[in-house]
């Protein structure tokens, strides 16, 4: 027989451990936000003590004002949100359709192609960056002013190469395999085309995996650094991570760096919180099945 007291103690211990773990994850964020409010000298002094995590001393929003002066912050944020948003949406459409074709439609070479696709998961992006750059420099584009050559300095070169990727297709393939096959067969017997089955049956049942794929894709895209650095020379097309460079040129101002980082973290947190519920549901469900 366990007394109520012992049970309460156990619960308290469990929460204490959870709070501690949560704090470990939250501290860097708190440090970032607090530091963004302090002048450089105080920031460096505080960083050796717990004061680094507290809004004490000379607190102001000066760093933010300075950050906006040093770099076109809104341009970078706008670019990142645009590139990330468009890529995430297109990626969900293309990769889910690919997953659908791999799982539900019977066609020759299906398994071989899926194996090749999955093999691309082990290739780091850095290995294909240079060949991709050479291709991008020579691709034709049909714009309003006729055919032009080269995709450098544009949004599209930051979007198109990342729409389809093995990992996202793989996520959809795994999820679709767990959907009851009889639902698809029932829809086929009822006369639905593959497109209708995709749109009316499979997609409405794919909420959790869409959220998961969206979050993973969002993080990858929002954190892009190497590729945009290679393909954009014009400030107008650069995303937030490339923008970080502006704060390390000439004299490094840590307060401004922290202010800039705080600003660009906001969209990520907002997006994550928005999809959090589905994301956890999806991870939990795959855990049960796996």
């Amino acid at each position: 027989m366990i007394s109520a007291d012992t049970q309460g103690l156990r619960l308290a211990t469990r929460y204490a451990v959870l709070v501690l773990i949560a704090l470990i994850f939250v501290f860097p964020l708190v440090f970032m936000v607090m530091s963004s409010l302090k002048p450089d000298q105080q920031l460096l002094q505080d960083s050796g003590s717990l004061r680094a995590f507290l809004p004490v001393g000379d607190i102001s929003l000066d760093n933010y004002a300075a950050a906006f002066q040093r770099a076109p912050v809104w341009t970078f944020v706008f670019n990142s949100v645009l590139i990330t948003g468009v890529t995430v949406v297109l990626s969900l459409v293309v990769c889910s359709a690919a997953g659908f074709a791999f799982v539900f439609v019977r066609w020759k070479g299906r398994e071989t192609l899926l194996a090749i696709l999955l093999a691309t998961l082990i290739l780091p992006f850095e290995t294909i960056a240079i060949p991709l750059l050479l291709m991008a420099a020579n691709l034709p584009w049909l714009g309003l002013d006729g055919i032009s050559w080269g995709w450098m300095n544009s949004y599209r070169i930051q979007i198109v190469p990342f729409i389809a990727d093995g990992l996202t297709v793989f996520l959809f393939v795994q999820y679709f395999k767990d959907l009851p096959g009889e639902l698809i067969e029932a829809a086929r017997v009822e006369g639905a085309s593959w497109a209708q089955i995709y749109r009316k049956v499979v997609m409405p049942l794919s909420g959790p995996i869409l959220a998961t794929a969206a979050i993973l894709k969002f993080l990858v895209m929002y954190n892009q650094y190497l590729w945009p650095l290679m393909v954009t020379q014009e400030e107008g097309y650069r995303p937030v991570m490339v923008g970080l460079q502006y704060f390390f040129q000439l004299n490094v101002a840590w307060g401004e760096v922290m202010a800039y980082l705080s600003l660009i973290t906001v969209p990520v947190l907002a997006f994550y919180l928005y999809l959090q519920k589905s994301f956890i549901a999806s991870i939990a469900s795959t855990g049960v099945k796996g």
Binding site: L183, E185, A186, A187, R188, V189, G191, A192
Partner: protein
């Protein structure tokens, strides 16, 4: 007119032959039941008719049209699945109307047909619910509703009642029977439950290992099983099989006996025997009656099961084989008691020994 003809239908996965040349003729409006043990290929055969499995060879015609290579939607069939397969993200109304929505039916037409289906299946009050709020029986109704709104020529049922509990299964069985009479459509029904087969079917197809064992009306199959498999598969409890020796043959009858059985003359039907052959004598438990001594079969009681209206008696015969008798009254036999049974010779079946 939706007559369905299967001619030498075959299905193989590589070297594994699942359906090995099946010929079945199903008349328009007929209720045909495919029955057999698990793995006999009955569901595969149904899925081939639905268009969900490719046909390796042979021909399949529905309403005088060869449909081998047509997609499911163009075959004019509706299917009810064992797992119901109703769409969890749609209401009952949307589920039932799904086929009509796909076909681009007008709102008024959809509303009218859904209302009609709901009336037939008595589920008007469920139309705005989600599948997760329904019981198993209600889900099955929705699945049937989805099948009937399109007014297909052919209905395919794949073990539709096997996920329901016993009481509900009987209700739904009767409803499906009524539905068949009301709609007059051709129906093919797959089951491993012989009671469903016997009660629903106009025609039963018994399958084993991808081959047809026998086709006929329930009573034909019950009274004249073509082989040991059919004889043992239909009827509960199963038919008793006694190993006997043929003593003499006289035209269409043969005199058989064994250590526990006094010589009896039984019909050979179409099979041919000669004196000295080993054979199997099939006796349905229901056709055995307690004999005024001495009786044709003697043995000792091993087990009695009293079911109220009838009694099952397991008897150990003199040659150590055992036999079950279903007696249509409540009787009590102590274990070890001596009993003797009689049977009408024209109810016995003689099969060649395997």
């Amino acid at each position: 007119m939706a007559r369905i003809q299967l001619k030498d239908l075959r299905k193989s996965y590589g070297n594994a032959h699942v359906i090995k040349g099946v010929d079945i003729d199903i008349e328009d409006g007929e209720f045909c039941v495919f029955v057999g043990p698990s793995g006999c290929g009955k569901s595969t055969l149904l899925r081939m008719i639905a268009g969900l499995e490719d046909i390796t060879s042979g021909s399949l015609t529905i309403a005088e049209r060869r449909v081998n290579d047509l997609p499911p939607a163009q075959r004019g069939v509706a299917m009810v699945f064992q797992s119901y397969a109703i769409f969890p993200h749609m209401t009952v109304r949307e589920n039932v109307a799904f086929g009509l929505t796909i076909a681009g039916a007008s709102k008024a037409e959809k509303a009218a047909k859904v209302a009609e289906a709901a009336r037939i299946l008595q589920m008007e009050h469920l139309l705005d619910r989600r599948p997760s709020q329904l019981s198993g029986g209600q889900r099955q109704r929705v699945a049937i509703g989805r099948a009937i709104v399109r007014q297909p020529k052919v209905f395919l049922f794949d073990e539709p009642l096997s996920n329901l509990d016993a009481a509900l299964r009987m209700d739904m069985r009767m409803e499906i029977g009524k539905l068949h009479k009301a709609l007059g459509a051709t129906m093919i029904y797959v089951t491993h439950d012989q009671v469903e087969a016997m009660t629903l079917a106009d025609k039963i197809v018994v399958l084993k290992d991808g081959q047809v064992m026998q086709i006929g009306t329930p009573m034909e199959l019950y009274q004249n099983p073509a082989n040991l498999f059919v004889a043992g598969f239909l009827g509960a409890p199963s038919m008793n099989f006694l190993k006997v020796t043929v003593q003499a043959v006289n035209g269409n009858t043969a005199l058989v006996s064994n250590a526990a059985l006094d010589p009896v003359e039984v019909s050979t039907r179409s099979a041919s025997f000669k004196a000295g052959d080993a054979a199997i004598l099939g006796l349905r438990p229901q056709y055995l009656s307690i004999a005024e001594a001495p009786g044709r079969l003697q043995g000792t009681v091993a087990l009695t099961e009293r079911l109220g209206a009838e009694t099952m008696v397991e008897v150990k015969l003199k040659d150590d084989s055992s036999l079950i008798a279903a007696l249509p009254q409540d009787v009590v036999f102590p274990v070890g008691a001596q009993v003797a049974f009689d049977f009408a010779a024209d109810k016995a079946h003689l099969f060649a020994a395997p």
